[in-house]
């Protein structure tokens, strides 16, 4: 998609404005005029930058995410942060964790890394696997389609959260992030697979595919060069909508105690701990909650806007 965007932009720059615009150009123009999309994009960029710059940011405030600060909590009261709003102040910008005094800002920043990494990686695996299976099922049809479709139905019919909980509880002590990525994508690829299969079915009998076949193109060429580019729009939309869903799932798994291991920070774990303290230190519960909310909202807005923008029947053509 990004290539067609650039082509569109290049075409738009080189040619006089009155000429017909490419679909990519149209989508770009629509997105640029959509405040919701811009808002979503801004927040996504902000959080991504924050995650990338996490070591820099923590050097700036001077607190590593795992370091206890006993001076910031009241030992006699079971570790309640000293000061108002969970100890928010010049020393700890977003306050400290009750019980141990770890810096909330540092943990949020490093938590963004974990949350975004897992969400993006599992979405990537989901989309790649789903697209491949969907393409093959839709294009070849027949027995291949039957087998693959039934497998997809089977996986989709699992109660995914419960299976994820079970699998993560008994899984060996391997790399936890990798494990989360694999298990989360294991249950979501059929959703992409079904969409891609349906699109493939409708595209494969179109004239340009027949034309390519008449010209002597073989299976892989038709799949990758003729059909796949026409699936870019739905896949892109699915991807942007799947990322927030995966952020939510990762948070839920961490919240339920099967996510990343302590002391690695994660938003879901922070919300889990914060829940115990919400009456005494509401900020500790709210800060990771708001971050999670904003990220999910931003990606969802972006995904919705992208879907509208790529809709060939949409306005502004």
């Amino acid at each position: 998609m990004s290539t067609s965007l650039q082509e569109g932009a290049a075409a738009g720059a080189a040619a006089p404005p009155v000429r017909g615009r490419s679909p990519g150009r149209i989508a770009y123009e629509r997105l640029r005029r959509d405040p919701a999309a811009l808002f979503g994009l801004a927040i996504v960029v902000l959080f991504v930058l924050m995650a990338l710059a996490a070591p820099l940011l923590t050097r700036l405030n001077g607190w590593e995410p795992e370091t206890f600060d006993k001076t910031a909590i009241d030992h006699a009261l079971g570790g309640v942060p000293k000061g108002d709003f969970g100890g928010i102040g010049a020393e700890h910008w977003l306050g400290v964790e009750p019980g141990n005094g770890r810096d909330v800002f540092s943990r949020i920043v490093y938590g963004a890394r974990v949350s975004l990494l897992i969400a993006v990686a599992s979405t990537a695996v989901t989309v790649l696997a789903g697209t491949a299976v969907g393409l093959v099922a839709g294009y070849f049809g027949g027995k291949v389609d039957t087998v693959l479709s039934r497998v997809m139905d089977l996986v989709m019919s699992f109660p995914s959260l419960i299976f994820m909980l079970a699998l993560l509880s008994i899984a060996p002590d391997a790399n936890r992030v990798l494990l989360l990525v694999l298990i989360m994508s294991m249950f979501s690829w059929p959703y992409v697979g079904r969409i891609v299969r349906g699109q493939t079915l409708s595209v494969k009998h179109r004239e340009f595919v027949d034309a390519a076949r008449v010209n002597g193109a073989m299976g892989p060429h038709i799949l990758l060069k003729e059909i796949l580019p026409n699936l870019a729009a739905p896949i892109l939309v699915y991807t942007t909508l799947a990322i927030p869903a995966n952020i939510g799932t990762e948070a839920a798994l961490s919240f339920l105690g099967v996510g990343v291991r302590p002391p690695t920070p994660s938003w879901g774990q922070m919300i889990d701990n914060g829940l115990l303290w919400y009456q005494v230190v509401p900020t500790y519960f709210m800060i990771p909650g708001v971050c999670l909310f904003l990220t999910v909202l931003a990606f969802t807005l972006l995904g919705d806007a992208l879907r509208d923008a790529l809709d060939p029947k949409g306005p502004g053509r």
């Binding site: 079971g78 570790g79 141990n100 959260l161 927030p244 799932t249 302590p262 115990l276």
Partner: protein, 568 residues
């Protein structure tokens, strides 16, 4: 669209599940100022009124033969049935003293401690006015052998003569080693001398159950009362209502005051709701007490408010939180390394995660102070935050090269506590990988000696006030079992320790034995099979009109129900 729905359900399911895990976790933090027990000024309670007990759970068992959990034992023994001997209903060290209950004395020893005779008092009656006879006590002890009624204390099974193959009164009839020559005399014949036998007879196993009223498994829901109250209604998990047993004679009972006319236990409430209601102290809640521990997160609401703090109790539990290590595997097979960890751990930050000084005292020995003459033993003199230099030096001596990686097991509720240990071990180059398990499978996991390959947050509580309910359970290498291992979680097998345990068992002078347990404790600290962390406290709250409230050392710091009453 379906995506968003998925997220929504995930979070909802997450929220629901967390509630249930929160309820499931066993350990809860407690609290108070400078490490001392809170001693609120509860005025004298008068006779009459209704006492409400707010609980988040149903009783595990009320059948005296099956009742072996705290604080159910407290509730059953103080309200519904009397045992041969019981503990004084007084705060502090006095609560560790035994006084006669159904019996006229705390037992007459003969045959070098192998025969114990008890004589019942005159005028003891059940709730229907029928007399309590010695045969009923014998019958209930026999019931404790029945496989149909599991869960109860096993002390009778361990010491009674010829009881190894006995399967209870339903299958095997009468047990020969308990004799009842007349209605008021009961004689126990033991297979070895047991100087501590009077302690055993405080257990609910030694309460009377008349054969005619025995409904076997159903007896759990409708106990036939020999105590000051009888069961009016019991809707399990919802409500239990007790009213006075008019046939109970206070003249025969030195311990129980039986002040309220009625006792209502409301069950199945959420603990945070109970605590908030007791803090608010409105209406009927003024005559209510909490049954389960005050949740640690509520401490700051209680301790910062003098009016509420005055109603807050946190007696010591008689339990020790420890860090257990598998002594049979590297690097824990090196005693120097284990000793180094004693110095490395910042017990203060562990204590904070458990709720601060109000939740527990920093433990400097395995035996809680109640078992070492009321004074905390501290032979190693390690600062509360640890001694990093000394620890590093000891690790160097032990020959273990740092950084070394070890696994740590904790139940999900102890995640934050586990990170405190992790952080303090990082200071000496020990890297810890935390594995959390649901409380329901945690003990099975670490109790499987083949699977337990690291450290675990563990704890032990006393069954009766003696080092013999602590040290041998935790450190006798002969008690280790391959699966379902408990107590000696460290798999510590040390010949010298076992010899000393046997020597103390043979003592008949209880005072000397107590001293010997304390000395042995100090010796074990040097070998460091486990690391004591905190002596936990029991945090409880009462309404403003409740009097006579204090945490009883025997009932793991729970209120002594014998003295609770309503103030005028």
């Amino acid at each position: 669209m379906s995506l968003k729905t998925t997220v929504g359900t995930c979070l909802l399911a997450a929220a629901l599940l967390s509630v249930s895990t929160a309820c499931g976790s066993g350990k809860a933090p407690a609290s108070q100022g400078s490490g001392e027990a809170s001693q609120p000024s509860t005025g004298a309670a008068a006779k009459g009124g209704t006492l409400t007990i707010l609980s988040n759970q149903d009783f595990a068992h009320l059948d005296p033969t099956r009742n072996w959990t705290m604080p159910e034992m407290d509730f059953g023994l103080r309200y519904l049935y009397r045992s041969l001997v019981t503990y004084k209903a007084e705060p502090g060290a006095a609560s560790l003293e035994v006084v006669p209950d159904l019996a006229t004395t705390t037992g007459e020893m003969s045959d070098g401690g192998k025969t114990w005779t008890f004589t019942l008092k005159d005028g003891l009656k059940y709730e229907d006015g029928s007399p309590i006879v010695a045969a009923d006590v014998k019958y209930n002890v026999e019931r404790s052998f029945a496989p149909e009624l599991p869960g109860g204390p096993n002390y009778a099974r361990l010491v009674l003569d010829g009881a190894e193959k006995y399967r209870g009164p339903y299958k095997d009839g009468s047990l020969k080693s308990i004799e009842t020559p007349d209605d008021r005399t009961i004689v126990f014949r033991l297979k070895r001398p047991v100087a501590e036998f009077p302690y055993y007879t405080t257990l609910p196993t030694f309460a009377p159950v008349p054969r005619a009223k025995d409904t076997k498994a159903q007896y759990d829901s409708r106990v036939f009362s020999s105590g000051p109250y009888k069961i009016d209604t019991y809707d399990r998990g919802k409500e239990l209502v007790l009213s006075r047993n008019e046939h109970w004679d206070p003249a025969t009972d030195p311990a129980r005051k039986a002040l309220p006319d009625k006792v209502v236990v409301k069950q199945g409430l959420r603990q945070s709701v109970i605590v908030d209601r007791l803090i608010a102290d409105q209406g009927d809640d003024r005559t209510a007490v909490t049954y389960a521990d005050v949740n640690g997160e509520s401490f700051s609401k209680i301790l910062t408010n003098p009016k509420v703090k005055a109603r807050f109790h946190n007696e010591i539990r008689g339990c020790t939180d420890t860090l257990a290590m598998n002594n049979t595997m590297a690097p824990f097979d090196k005693p120097k390394f284990r000793l180094a960890l004693q110095y490395a751990i910042d017990k203060e930050s562990y204590q904070t995660t458990q709720g601060g000084p109000a939740a527990g005292e920093i433990a400097t020995a395995f035996l809680p102070p109640s078992l070492s003459g009321g004074v905390a033993q501290d032979t190693l003199k390690i600062p509360a935050t640890g001694d990093v230099e000394k620890a590093k030096a000891l690790i160097a001596e032990s020959g273990v090269t740092t950084p070394v990686k070890i696994k740590m097991y904790a139940s999900t509720g102890d995640k934050v506590a586990a990170t405190a240990i992790q952080e303090s071990l990082k200071r000496v180059g020990v890297e810890t990988e935390i594995n959390t398990f649901d409380p329901s499978v945690f003990y099975d996991t670490i109790g499987d000696t083949a699977k337990f390959d690291g450290m675990a947050l563990y704890g032990w509580c006393q069954d009766y006030p003696s080092g013999s309910s602590f040290i041998p359970m935790m450190f006798d290498g002969r008690t280790i079992t391959d699966k379902g291992n408990s107590g000696n979680m460290s798999l510590f097998k040390d010949q010298e320790t076992m010899d000393r345990i046997d020597a103390i068992y043979a003592m008949t002078d209880l005072k000397a034995a107590d001293r010997a347990w304390v000395d042995l404790d100090a010796a074990i600290m040097q070998k460091a099979p486990m690391i004591p962390l905190v002596w936990a406290r029991k945090p409880l709250l009462t309404g403003s009109k409740v009097g006579g409230a204090f945490g009883h050392l025997i009932w793991s710091g729970q209120f002594d129900y014998a003295t609770l009453g309503i103030r005028k």
